[in-house]
């Protein structure tokens, strides 16, 4: 069954620095890390101590408020360092891999006869559970919930993002198994959104939707909004495309192997290095890009709109399959505000000819202005395909007015849905941060 989702509002940022569709197998990176900060709102409770030997798939910490949710080591090796920050908050659990490849095996499961409870307990035990993200709030799913539906987006529209179709090309069997497993967890349906020319249209146990339109059409939040919007009190889950294959692989082989095919993109990467790299979640940046002068280069785990800033010796975010390197924009621009100048910078505004001079653009991290009072109206609506008033919702979040936030649809959004507003708005408002803080307020006040 195939249904069409047509997104009209939005903006495709056409950037230089795409990855070639070639896969490189990375020789085992020696050091990996799990970063609790990747799992928003999870308070980690350590199980193992520094110096302990771990197998791949062995739990390292669990969530304080949902003890069944375990976070497991991606590789076998030794916990060499537990890096702590202010107030002893755990920043990184670093694992140095060894060659023994010892893996915790949970046994194969015949999915056709398995019950939802069986699937759930294996997911929780194996460390695959954190792949499941709950909406509203965009946090790791609660193990007690049954969602009204599960959404998977296999269509990426974010600038330079890795192409899920390409990543899944040799993982179709595992992907199908993953969808079948997930379909046991919901009272409703599994919805899979794919691009027009997708090779995934024939999967079973899921409703397949064809998505058309500019970014953020590929954002799962937009797809949820078009397919089956979230109402107050409802829960839906989302899983990343490659993670579905990892889940499927768990049931096919019994092993937790959080594979990541990372697209290395951006103009600060050498042409010949811009490819897809097959590695394990939590890989070290250095193993992929070598040593980079971070004064002149911004290393971003994820895409340029939503990613995290990293330094050379840090680790790729648990969920990300894109690593972007672009030049820092720490230069002045003489009379940079003159209308119709600097058309080489991408823009959605009418005061730039950027859109007329098509073609791919090179971007840097310059803010292109300074933060100002909110003056201009109507520009946020241009890049917000949901039936939501973005400016009003942002203001409600800033004011912490919970009733207003609920009325205006806070349950239907995640920070990533406001990434284009970060990009386009004249006042340089940090919309994603505002929405994240708003969601955090909802978690503590409403739950």
């Amino acid at each position: 069954m195939s249904k069409d989702i047509r997104v009209r509002k939005g903006l495709d940022l056409k950037l230089k620095g795409e990855a070639d569709k070639k896969i490189v197998n990375v020789s085992q990176s020696s050091i990996y890390a799990i970063k609790p900060a990747d799992f928003h709102a999870v308070v980690p409770k350590l199980i193992l101590k520094e110096g302990a030997a771990v197998k791949a798939g062995e739990p390292i910490f669990y969530s304080k408020y949902d003890e069944k949710v375990k976070f497991c080591s991606p590789v076998s090796g030794t916990i060499t360092e537990i890096l702590r920050g202010a107030k002893r908050r755990i920043l990184e659990v670093k694992i140095t891999a060894n060659a023994s490849n010892e893996v915790v095996n949970h046994g194969k499961l015949d999915l056709s006869n398995a019950s939802g409870e069986q699937v759930k307990s294996i997911l929780l035990e194996s460390g695959c559970w954190p792949f499941i993200i709950q909406r509203p709030y965009s946090i790791v799913a609660n193990s007690e919930d049954t969602p009204k539906a599960i959404f998977i987006s296999a269509y990426a529209t974010a600038p330079l993002a890795g192409d899920p179709e390409f990543i899944l090309a040799d993982k179709k069997e595992a992907f199908q198994a993953g969808i079948t497993a997930l379909s046991k967890l919901t009272s409703g349906k599994v919805h899979l959104s794919v691009g027009k020319k997708s090779g995934l249209k024939d999967v079973s146990d899921a409703d397949v939707h064809t998505v058309k339109g500019p970014h953020p059409a590929g954002n799962v939040g937009v797809q949820i909004h078009k397919i089956d919007p979230i109402n107050m009190g409802e829960r839906v889950w989302t899983v990343g495309a490659e993670d579905v294959a990892t889940i499927g692989n768990l049931f096919l082989t019994g092993e937790y192997k959080p594979e990541r095919t990372v697209a290395l993109v951006g103009t600060a990467v050498k042409d010949e290095d811009r490819k897809y790299y097959k590695t394990i979640a939590g890989a070290n940046v250095k193993t992929l890009v070598g040593t980079v002068d971070t004064d002149n280069t911004r290393i971003i785990s994820g895409d340029v709109l939503t990613g995290d800033k990293l330094s050379n010796d840090q680790f790729i975010n648990f969920y990300h399959n894109t690593l972007t390197l672009i030049p820092e924009g720490n230069q002045y621009a003489f009379l940079g505000w003159l209308p119709f100048t600097r058309n080489d910078v991408p823009s959605n505004a009418g005061t730039s000819f950027s859109k007329l001079f098509g073609g791919k653009k090179e971007v840097n991290t310059n803010l292109n202005g300074e933060d100002r009072a909110l003056v201009v109206t109507g520009e946020m609506e241009e890049v917000m395909p949901m039936d939501i008033y973005p400016l009003q919702l942002i203001k409600a979040c800033m004011a912490g007015d919970i009733e207003k936030m609920e009325n205006l649809g806070i349950y239907e959004v995640a920070p990533e849905d406001f990434a284009l507003i970060d990009f386009t708005n004249t006042s340089k408002l940090e919309a994603q941060e505002v929405i994240r803080l708003g969601l955090d307020l909802m978690i503590t006040e409403v739950g």
């Binding site: 940022l13 919007p229 109402n231 409802e234 911004r298 971003i300 340029v304 709109l305 939503t306 800033k309 672009i326 720490n330 002045y332 621009a333 003489f334 505000w337 209308p339 910078v345 991408p346 823009s347 959605n348 505004a349 009418g350 005061t351 730039s352 950027s354 971007v363 840097n364 991290t365 310059n366 803010l367 292109n368 202005g369 300074e370 100002r372 009072a373 909110l374 003056v375 201009v376 109206t377 109507g378 520009e379 939501i388 008033y389 009003q392 009325n407 205006l408 649809g409 990434a419 284009l420 970060d422 990009f423 708005n425 004249t426 006042s427 340089k428 940090e430 919309a431 994603q432 941060e433």
Partner: protein
């Protein structure tokens, strides 16, 4: 450029954090960022940003005002000289004579407006510890453009101070004001100094003789007399009036710039003219007095209606903020503008009062538009709950 940059970096030093003049940093920043877009990089959120910023947006509005301003300078000079020289037509005045005379008359108004307004803006930026917002670049130019040319400079200065202090800063500064600051200045002067803001003598520069007639079309009509100007005169702007609002054609060039650059809302502009036309047609249908008989299409080109709708009603801060709200807001601005003009001849400049009135109602309009979205969401929730119970 490097030399300029180095000099600036040197001049900035005493203003850096921890230095003596740290508090006054917004002042030097305003000059610095005017010359150079700063080298700031993104700290959080999206890593790349659009090239657009508030400076660019505001400068675009200033650009859109230039045709009206240049025409206004010429017209101000021409209206005066053609009576002074005893010529038959406004257009008979030598072009450069008229333009230079007008520029001499108008420039002091612009200077006073900018100096007074920007001084207050800078003081508030330093006091509040935020950067200077660019909004006043537009307001400061709009104000002299909608005043009669002979307004004493001190009156202009007080009006500007009132508009910026009470109209804007009292509400929290740029982005927070309820009323359009430029119109607030004009409304203040209109009620504080009525002798200088209305009547039949003030719309054309008086020179030494004090014998020049400067009746506006609307003023003439209000007295029940017939008008000597035709549609073309009014549209082109060869008529007496405030400094720069007379030429509908120049205003429409500005409107085109605003619409094409998406800086001004085409919804407000289009629906504004539609509202004025509808009200004009309604009055024409009754036609009880000279003002009501005044053709509906003439209403669109005389007085400040076009200028007000294009440059004042579209101020995004004081206008409605939702798309549907903009249609309603714009329409009512035009509608009430013509209504006030016709029903209350003591206030020939109805559009000023209409826009200020609609500024006050804009949040209410938005409230009901947004409530529609909220209700849709509530209905969906109720339906989902009902489904759950039957299931």
């Amino acid at each position: 450029m490097k030399w300029v940059r180095n000099k600036l970096d040197q001049a900035r030093k005493p203003f850096e954090p921890g230095q003596k003049l740290e508090k006054f940093a917004p002042a030097i920043n305003a000059f610095d960022t005017f010359l150079f877009t700063p080298n700031h990089t993104t700290k959080k959120g999206a890593h790349v940003r659009d090239v657009v910023d508030l400076k660019r947006t505001m400068i675009t509005v200033v650009l859109a005002l230039i045709p009206a301003l240049l025409f206004g300078m010429w017209n101000t000079g021409a209206q005066y000289l053609y009576q002074e020289m005893g010529l038959a037509n406004v257009t008979d005045v030598p072009f450069m004579d008229a333009f230079i005379e007008g520029a001499i008359l108008v420039t002091p108004l612009i200077l006073v407006s900018y100096i007074v307004g920007l001084t207050i803006e800078f003081i508030f930026a330093i006091y509040r510890g935020h950067e200077v917002n660019e909004g006043y670049l537009v307001t400061g130019l709009l104000i002299p453009m909608i005043f009669p040319v002979d307004i004493p400079l001190w009156m202009l200065a007080i009006s500007v101070a009132f508009a910026v202090l009470i109209g804007k800063e009292a509400f929290g500064g740029t982005g927070m004001n309820i009323l359009n600051p430029a119109l607030t200045a004009r409304a203040f002067a209109f009620f504080a100094y009525p002798l200088y803001m209305s009547g039949n003598a003030i719309w054309v520069h008086q020179g030494a003789t004090d014998s020049i007639s400067g009746e506006t079309i609307l003023g003439t009509l209000a007295q029940g007399k017939s008008v000597a100007y035709n549609f073309f005169d009014a549209a082109a702007g060869f008529i007496p009036g405030s400094v720069s609002e007379t030429s509908t054609i120049a205003v429409l060039i500005g409107a085109a710039i605003l619409i094409l650059t998406k800086v001004g809302s085409w919804r407000i502009i289009v629906s504004g003219f539609a509202g004025a036309a509808v009200m004009g047609l309604i009055f024409n249908a009754f036609g009880l007095n000279a003002l009501m008989e005044f053709d509906w299409y003439m209403h669109l080109v005389v007085g400040g209606l076009a200028f007000g709708l294009v440059f004042m009603a579209t101020d995004p801060v004081s206008a409605a903020q939702t798309m549907k709200g903009k249609w309603i807001y714009g329409f009512l601005c035009g509608f009430f503008g013509v209504m006030i003009r016709v029903f209350n001849p003591a206030y020939p400049e109805g559009i000023m009062l209409a826009i200020l009135l609609m500024n006050v109602f804009a949040p209410t309009i938005d409230h009901y538009v947004i409530q529609g979205n909220v209700n849709k969401r509530k209905k969906r929730l109720a339906k989902a709950k009902a489904n759950l119970q039957t299931a």
